[in-house]
């Protein structure tokens, strides 16, 4: 790693101030950023750790919305979201491994927007609102391609507001070595319709599968997506799977998620 200064502010305001330094970089749980630094793929002048900011931690309910602090650990979401939004808790409880879940945060995952990460699919399928230190961003506007989001430099995700669905489930097909999603599908049924978000599959990052949404909004059953092909997206092809294989997985996993949602 290149050398850098390290600060650990206690408030969002102090973190925002610290991030105004040239080449400053926010640090969530570090489960992606630290390996990146070790490979010398990043060279910040100062790392601004967000782990000391208590106002960014915790899970609470605001009517029909689950509000999760941006600095909340995956392990905490797995425990504390269970009673309110079980599909989200299950997703959080299966990210990486226990040690990763004890450091990684929802805000860090959404800010990084890894094309194979789990959380982006939950945020997009839930029609979540990403709340930052300066504004609120709808999930539909937030994800802008692989590792790309609407966040401005120095902007911090302070919380995520997820409308609680009537039914939901997330199913992923794990890449066995990394345990990232080769393909993951989050299906969420709301009074106003069904939202389906797919991660792991597209060169543009997480996306909504609108054809499946229309079919499932009319008939919420695994059979409703039978024969549908997710062809619109720019699907990833790599040594783990061809684009055609991923397209097939999207259909299969969507049907499984619908079945799991009940």
């Amino acid at each position: 790693m290149y050398a850098f200064d390290f600060v650990r502010p206690k408030t969002v305001a102090d973190a925002v101030k610290a991030l105004q330094a040239e080449d400053a970089q926010a640090l969530g749980g570090g489960q992606t950023l630290i390996p990146t630094l070790k490979q010398r793929l990043a060279q910040p002048s100062v790392l601004v750790s967000l782990t000391g900011i208590d106002e960014m931690k915790g899970v609470c309910r605001d009517g029909d919305v689950l509000v999760i602090g941006g600095g909340t650990l995956h392990a905490t979401v797995a425990r504390e979201a269970r009673a309110h939004y079980p599909a989200l808790a299950a997703l959080a409880g299966n990210i990486g491994d226990p040690a990763v879940r004890n450091r990684g945060t929802i805000g860090g995952s959404l800010a990084n927007n890894d094309p194979s990460a789990c959380y982006p699919s939950a945020a997009l399928a839930s029609g979540a609102t990403i709340v930052t230190n300066s504004r609120k961003i709808a999930a539909d506007d937030y994800f802008q391609g692989m590792f790309t989001t609407a966040l401005e430099p120095g902007e911090i995700i302070t919380s995520v507001r997820l409308p609680i669905p009537q039914k939901a489930a997330y199913v992923k097909f794990e890449q066995p070595a990394s345990r990232f999603a080769l393909v993951g599908v989050f299906v969420a049924k709301y009074a106003g319709g069904v939202r389906v978000a797919v991660t792991g599959a597209s060169n543009n990052g997480v996306f909504r599968w609108t054809e499946a949404e229309a079919a499932l909004s009319a008939n919420f059953s695994a059979g409703a997506v039978k024969g549908l092909k997710a062809t619109a997206a720019d699907l990833i092809a790599d040594l783990h799977g061809t684009a055609a294989y991923r397209a097939h997985l999207i259909g299969v996993l969507t049907a499984r998620a619908v079945a799991a949602a009940g």
Binding site: A3, F6, R8, G30, P35, D97, V100, R103
Partner: protein, 161 residues
């Protein structure tokens, strides 16, 4: 250089570190606690697993300054006060839960975290919990058996392999 202070295995320790100093470097090089191993250094193998405020983390993927003020437990803190092996360590010895032993500190720390949260796990729960700990000897069968034995469950029916 900035100073970091924490409690390690119940003992207050402090030292000067760089921003980039990893927790595992602070423990091994700063405190001489070389029981915590660095296997892959890419946060995949889990050999460096320690507890920070009771939660297992990979100490190669945590900065020392980020756990300033924390309570840290390493493999050196797992023995009984009289120096004999702790319950989980003893189970690993009794059930041949180690071959070369390199992954063992991380395995024991991961197992301890599991048993603290789930005192009687099923075999499937043990295997799921140990997903982030890799044994390069592939000795998983007896590791899982040792963890189940450490939980007080009868493992006599599980064949030795």
């Amino acid at each position: 250089m900035p100073k970091v202070t924490m409690r390690v295995n119940g003992r207050a320790v402090s030292g000067e570190v760089e921003g980039r100093t990893l927790l595992v470097q602070f423990l091994r090089e700063g405190q001489g606690l070389t029981g915590t191993h660095v296997g892959c250094d890419t946060s995949q193998c889990g050999a460096c697993t320690v507890h920070v405020n009771g939660a297992q983390v990979k100490s190669c993927t945590v900065f020392a300054l980020d756990v300033d003020g924390a309570e840290v437990t390493t493999i050196e803190g797992m023995a009984n006060p009289d120096g004999t092996l702790g319950r989980i360590q003893q189970a690993f010895q009794d059930h041949h839960g180690l071959q070369c032993g390199f992954c063992t500190p991380g395995m024991v720390m991961a197992a301890a975290a599991l048993l603290a949260e789930n005192p009687k796990p099923t075999e499937a729960e043990v295997r799921h919990h140990l997903e982030g700990n890799i044994c390069r000897c592939t000795g998983y069968h007896n590791i899982v058996k040792a963890v189940l034995a450490a939980s007080g469950q009868d493992v006599s029916a599980i064949a030795a392999e």
